[in-house]
Point group: C2
Chain length 128, copies 2
DNA sequence: CCGGATCCGGTCTGATACTG
DNA sequence: CAGTATCAGACCGGATCCGG
């Protein structure tokens, strides 16, 4: 695995990902954990706001959600923009790069449905 | 996330996965880490033996590889069978369930190639 | 030697509490 | 409500050990 992260001097830590020559390795460097793709699934389902994301049945912890959203923004999969100013509130929407992950999720969903039958929720994702 | 693992009494720990109603969640419960899909990629590339797997450029640690192979066997994605007796050596081959993950890896590879250009190794996986 | 198993320090995860 | 701080425990992975 390419060494995922390096910490800059001082207190600001900056994400930096090395490129592997294998595209799958690169994908797993950014998306290879339990939560990231789940957040993306929710965004594809049309959820946009923090409270919608955190209400998912998988019960992601608030710090993990915040961290993943930040990482996704850094990696260019998600953009964050304010939809309200008092108090300040943001919406998270998938970029094209993020939306293009749909075939990955579709393939996972198909495999999951085949081998873990009885799953019906999110059986088909709505169009972006 | 469904609580992945529970430890049985005594010292033998047993893997047990709960089912979520979302197929993607189930997939990520078993495959949602950096190494598992990479091992499956290697097996799809035709690698079968321990030393072939551990020689991959990503430099997986030996304990992690052994652990992942064990988990994949428990989950029914891989079968382990001896190919030699003195000394005892095993081969790891994908089951149909494992082979059926090909569309997932294909989708990842396609996305990775699009957004991390310059990746050429493993550009196309050979047929199983 | 090879295929693992064991050990162990460092990192990351995630439940909870906290803040504006 | 939208995040941040904290902290114990889980996990990762490098080094080492061991049986065949």
């Amino acid at each position: 695995m390419t060494s995922g992260r390096e910490t800059a001097e001082g207190e600001s830590s900056e994400l930096k990902f090395e490129r592997s020559c294998c595209p799958i390795t690169n994908v797993l460097d950014t998306l290879g954990d339990k939560w990231t793709l789940l957040v993306i699934r929710d965004l594809m389902l049309g959820k946009k706001r923090y409270h919608e994301l955190i209400a998912s049945p998988e019960k992601i912890a608030s710090n993990i959600l915040a961290e993943r959203l930040k990482k996704l923004e850094v990696c260019g999969l998600v953009t964050r923009c304010a939809y309200q100013w008092k108090p300040l509130r943001h919406e998270y929407v998938l970029t094209q790069k993020g939306k293009d992950l749909r075939p990955v999720l579709d393939a996972m969903r198909r495999w999951g449905r085949e081998y873990y039958p009885g799953t019906m929720v999110f059986a088909t994702l709505p169009p972006c």
